[in-house]
């Protein structure tokens, strides 16, 4: 059972390689809201639709002064190939070695099978965790409204219309 970090806590710092093997630090994003998206594995069908949906709404997400960072235990070579395949332009970070260390720090590593839960952390511009969403059924991806509801609470309804009827 994952123990999710409580809202109001400073988000644990990390440095991970992106798909171009460049180190990315969470604190590089201070001043921006961050959607930290843990997912079980590159190349699996559900993750494909989850990240494709995030990519599809990336413009609207950025309207909330937010950036998305995807994290899985795959290595940076896999991330690179997969990002190209999916046309994903936001960074996919390799929590590969020490294996799953960042997922562990965020309470979403699965000791049973060595991957992370599917989870979202919403971190504000000061680096504080404001909200989270986690499922332990890897077959079910988060609804897009989860992202926009959380960003709206952090940033106010300053984004362009994403939810108007």
């Amino acid at each position: 059972m994952a123990t999710v970090i409580n809202p109001g806590t400073q988000a644990p710092e990390f440095t991970l390689l992106n798909g171009s093997a460049k180190p990315v630090k969470l604190s590089d994003y201070r001043g921006k809201n961050v959607v930290l998206a843990f997912y079980p594995a590159d190349w699996s069908p559900v993750c494909t639709s989850e990240l494709a949906l995030i990519q599809e709404t990336l413009g609207e997400i950025r309207d909330y002064n937010a950036e998305v960072l995807g994290v899985s235990v795959d290595n940076h070579w896999s991330h690179r190939a997969w990002a190209e395949h999916l046309h994903v332009t936001f960074p996919l970070l390799a929590d590969f070695w020490p294996h799953g260390q960042v997922a562990r720090r965020y309470g979403v590593f699965r000791e049973t099978d060595g991957i992370s839960d599917r989870a979202l952390y919403f971190i504000d511009a000061a680096g504080v965790i404001r909200d989270s969403w986690v499922t332990e059924n890897p077959a079910v991806a988060p609804g897009l409204n989860v992202i926009f509801d959380a960003l709206e609470r952090i940033h106010g309804a300053h984004g362009k219309e994403t939810s108007g009827a």
Partner: protein, 187 residues
């Protein structure tokens, strides 16, 4: 914890509805014409309506995921263009039937096959007349918590289960049992 299981938007007069408006069970699908899982779900969903016309209705809204499906948006506009000529569901079925190759030429051939006014079709496709409708559906999908394509809601509750006839019949029966109505489902 953030919740994403409930359909928030209402079914409105501008929605495409297959089946009886009075049916007590509404299946709302957010779909993408280039998504193979949507193509597989189509006969099941339409079959449920055909099987239980007084009980089940199907509502379809567009959710084109354009980064992975480069033709999905154009196909959605084409379905809307056909809808403006009173043939939405015919076009819907034609597009899914031609899914592997959804070029404009293919969509045009579909339009010919269902006897659309082709001059009007070309003109409206060129002008992207129905793009706002497609965008409107997409926004409603974000609001409702789409988590992939297809995303299906059964009476406003997101259905993440298998999309075969038996599983969906069971889910519909469970919905009807939870909200006792005037109908009976024989699975």
């Amino acid at each position: 914890m953030l919740d994403d299981r409930i359909q928030r938007t209402q079914i409105t007069a501008d929605d495409w509805i297959l089946g009886s408006p009075a049916a007590p069970v509404t299946l709302l699908e957010y779909g993408d014409y280039e998504c193979p899982y949507c193509a597989m779900a189509r006969p099941v969903l339409e079959g449920l309506v055909a099987e239980m016309p007084d009980t089940v209705r199907l509502v379809f809204r567009h959710f084109p995921v354009t980064t992975v499906h480069p033709h999905a948006l154009m196909a959605a506009e084409a379905a809307e263009a056909a809808g403006a000529q009173g043939r939405f569901w015919k076009m819907h079925d034609m597009i899914f039937a031609h899914q592997p190759r959804l070029s404009y030429e293919t969509l045009r051939a579909c339009a010919v096959a269902i006897r659309l006014d082709l001059a009007r079709f070309d003109l409206e496709m060129e002008a992207h007349t129905y793009l706002p409708e497609v965008r409107h559906d997409f926004r409603r999908g974000v609001q409702d918590g789409v988590n992939g394509t297809p995303t299906i809601f059964i009476n406003r509750l997101r259905y993440d289960g298998p999309r075969d006839r038996e599983s969906m019949l069971a889910a519909i029966a469970a919905v009807l049992k939870a909200a006792p109505g005037r109908v009976r489902v024989v699975a």
